[in-house]
């Protein structure tokens, strides 16, 4: 019998970036890169487990904006265009590196990776990767959870009651529509929790959420088992806290695995390194150098001089890191089992994009780890939070503390001098949305469409990603523009509705451009 449990939770999220008004749009590359480097490699990994009969239980949040983008026809078509371009480049690279077998091996590796991604995307799943994840869930391996409708940071946007509720309800409905069941859990955007938030989760039938370590440790009354068991909020929704030890091994820049010298260096990409004329067709059309995804070097060490990447060494390292990670979890579980007198749960949440995009070998690490967990030990069992609640339905009742997993643990990332100006507008819009929803309830036709579009614009403005970007100071103009644009659209719709002067042509245009949640229902903003 096992002595403890481990829950791996991968949070897959990107903000809604879709620009039909431009033929090419740089920020859409976030999605394309994540598909090639993270989502498809994870799918390949899960397929491998099924093929080889490796038992596994993993939890993944697929956020509503990500789901919306993955299911969007325009973005699917553009992804293929992006991938074809990459394949062409990889092909050229195989030839260009003919005199350097070490580099040619890597070029071949990319060529293989990209062509395989295309095959998976196009032939196995007919462009619909969400259906791939759904399949793993339906076959009992994956537990997919939801998130806020647009990843709104709930502790800061909930001036009117309906804001948090609408974010949760809209996400839950999308989940139900796509996965054909109720969302079992939720990844609160940025793990942002405030006492009372759980009641909206309960309304949506959601059974659990995740918080950062101190959200549980500072809960009241004191949680007997720390983060090694969930607590029930007074509403009955369970809260699971992040384990710091397992987190540190992967996240930490100083001690974490991803910084190993044998792993691929993220910051040396041929989009920047190669001759301009040669690389021009594969970077931004306006000539701006961007990452292509083809990177030839390993981390090597602290200095600038980098050695070529050797795939075999990197895989070897991923295997030994997986073994180390497993060993540590075994020790941790044994120790905690004796201390707690019950099987501990080690909750290990990560951004999914860490695996593959940032840490190129991340999916291989997971692959080795999960296989080893299945066959090389019996101390720790991989389970999902839902599995845990079935095994241990009785847990302490306590109220978690306001917290997030952002820098410094609370709200500062999203509320600082760089971004605090957004809240008076976001709050006003949410109050107005509530007002309009109540006032026009029951109307249909053009008015209903306008209300639904106003809800979409509000949701899009609420994405925590914009405030985050403003805080980190990169690509700020884009984030500011997105915030302003959606608020301005919202305000215009509000005024048009109030003055009974809707411009249907413009409304139609907005519906086509900002088309997240085709089935959005403004009534979630009613009292």
């Amino acid at each position: 019998m096992e002595k403890g449990f481990l829950s791996l939770v991968l949070h897959a999220h990107l903000p809604f970036v879709r620009h039909p008004e431009h033929e090419y749009f740089l920020e859409e590359n976030w999605l394309y890169e994540a598909i090639t480097e993270t989502y498809i490699p994870l799918i390949h990994m899960y397929e491998g487990f099924e093929r080889d009969n490796v038992p596994f239980r993993i939890t993944m949040s697929l956020t509503p904006p990500l789901i919306s983008m993955l299911r969007d026809e325009l973005l699917q078509t553009r992804y293929l265009r992006h991938l074809d371009n990459l394949i062409e480049l990889a092909n050229k690279e195989v030839e260009r590196t003919r005199f350097q077998p070490i580099f040619q091996d890597i070029a071949l590796h990319y060529y293989w990776q990209f062509t395989r991604a295309k095959d998976t995307f196009l032939n196995h799943y007919q462009r619909d990767l969400v259906s791939a994840f759904k399949g793993f869930q339906d076959r009992g391996h994956l537990e997919i959870i939801t998130c806020g409708a647009t990843h709104g940071f709930l502790p800061l946007i909930s001036r009117s009651e309906s804001s948090a509720r609408a974010q949760v309800q809209t996400a839950a409905r999308q989940y139900e529509e796509i996965f054909g069941r109720t969302a079992p859990g939720i990844w609160l955007p940025e793990c942002g929790y405030f006492p009372g938030l759980d009641k909206y989760l309960k309304e949506a039938g959601i059974k659990y959420f995740l918080t950062d370590t101190h959200g549980i440790l500072h809960a009241s009354p004191r949680p007997k088992f720390g983060v090694f068991a969930p607590i029930y909020c007074p509403s009955g929704v369970a809260a699971f806290g992040r384990d710091l030890e397992s987190s540190k091994q992967v996240w930490s820049a100083a001690e974490g695995y991803p910084g190993d010298a044998d792993y691929r260096e993220f910051y040396r990409d041929i989009g920047f390194d190669l001759d301009y004329d040669y690389i021009k067709p594969y970077i931004a059309p306006d000539g701006l150098r961007v990452n292509t995804g083809i990177k030839y070097y390993r981390i090597t060490g602290e200095s600038d001089s980098k050695e070529p990447y050797v795939r075999a060494w990197a895989l070897e390292k991923a295997a030994s890191h997986a073994a180390n990670f497993m060993f540590n979890r075994e020790k941790q579980a044994e120790y905690l089992y004796d201390l707690l007198g019950r099987k501990p749960l080690i909750m290990a949440p990560y951004d999914a994009e860490l695996y593959g995009h940032w840490w190129y070998e991340g999916p291989e690490f997971l692959n080795f780890f999960i296989r080893k967990m299945a066959f090389d030990q019996k101390t720790v069992r991989l389970i999902t939070p839902s599995d845990y609640l079935k095994i241990y339905p009785v847990n302490q009742v306590s109220t978690p503390s306001l917290s997030s997993w952002g820098w410094k643990g609370y709200c500062e990332t999203w509320l600082s001098d760089s971004n605090h100006w957004i809240y008076r507008h976001l709050h006003r819009a949410s109050i107005r949305m509530n007002e309009m929803a109540n006032r026009f309830k029951g109307q249909n036709g053009k008015i209903e469409r306008a209300l639904n579009q106003a809800a979409r614009e509000l949701f899009l403005a609420q994405s925590s990603d914009w405030a985050f970007i403003m805080h980190t100071g990169t690509m700020v103009p884009y984030a500011e523009k997105r915030t302003k644009e959606h608020i301005l659209n919202f305000n215009q719709l509000y005024e048009d509705l109030m003055n009974n002067q809707l411009n249907e042509g413009w409304l139609h245009q907005l519906e086509k451009t900002n088309n997240i949640f085709p089935k959005v229902d403004y009534r979630v903003f009613c009292n």
Binding site: K224, G226, A254, P258, L288, V397, Y410, G473, K484
Partner: protein, 382 residues
Amino acid sequence: MAWFGKKEKKTEKAENNKEEKSKKKSAAQKKPSLVSRITSSAKKKVTKKKSNLENPPKIKKSAIPVASEIGFVEIAKSGTEPVKSSEARRKKQAQPAQPEQVASGQHNKREEKFWRRLDHLPEHYGDNFIYLLVRDPYWLYTYWEIQKDHQERCLAQIGGSWDGVRSVLRVYDVTSNKGLPSFIDIFLQGMASNWYVEVQPNRSYLVEIGLLHRDGRFVALARSNQVTTPRDGMSDVLDEEWMDIDFDKIYALSGGFDVGKSSAELTKMMQERLKGAISSGSGAGVISSLGSPVRMVKKRGFWFILDCELIVYGATEPDATVTLQGKPVKLRPDGTFTLRFALPDGKQVLDAHAYSADGVEERIITPIVERCTERPAPVLKA
């Protein structure tokens, strides 16, 4: 949320803050992008440090206005602080892009195109209110909107003259229900329309914005909602049904601290971590999702990179077959061809063969190319 960490480019400012902006901009434009990337990677840590310095926010009780975003109501006439007016702010925002925020000059152009399409957000919504948000256990954030006529009416209640009247933010501690709540007054200056307020963990607050006469009379312009700050340590509340384990130990294990510390020590360690004051070299990256866990390249000063490629091109009859080093070469419809190779140090023998379509003739051309790179030590001139 790690996705955006990779393009951190802001810190140039922190590192070269004495340099003029224009200088920086042109440097960024000239620099080949490899370096702006390396610079930017190195910057990340600096950004963090800078943020640490900035924190806790500089506004103590004596309070300097936070750069007012949308300050549309002049609350007090005494303001001498250089507060950014809304106009200035908008102008700043209307600029295409700040040089430190973008990868290169090309990026600037792109952003400029975007900005032109946007109107400004409204300066106010015609309302009178003040709203309060919790930032963390130690700080609240409040913003407000007061219309001029409302302010005039309130001013009339205490005499109608600004003489001896100041705008204040009155912060009430309403944790206890008994008796009158205690409060402190923060004197507002300039065109402030928002404020960070330093407070205590695990207490409840509300604020009023109002006018305070020097004779002590106070008239509130608006009153906020009530908020409660989170505790910054373990709860004092124990649950009898769920006890009997050494909670300090559990706390240490959960938080990744050494076992054997006292409650007080643990509380302090957790507070330090959450304040971002840990200087283990890994900074906040240990416990947050900010940015990438991938180690970044160290910034260097001057730099120089050079590499070589070899272009091999030629022509033959369009229906001929051509090979180079035994591998087939694709001909264009007119019979020309071009190949491009990375050229490392060493000798390359490029035997090219052309075979006529009728199989009668073979021609061979074999260029031999040798690259040998010397790297003398850098020359340093005074």
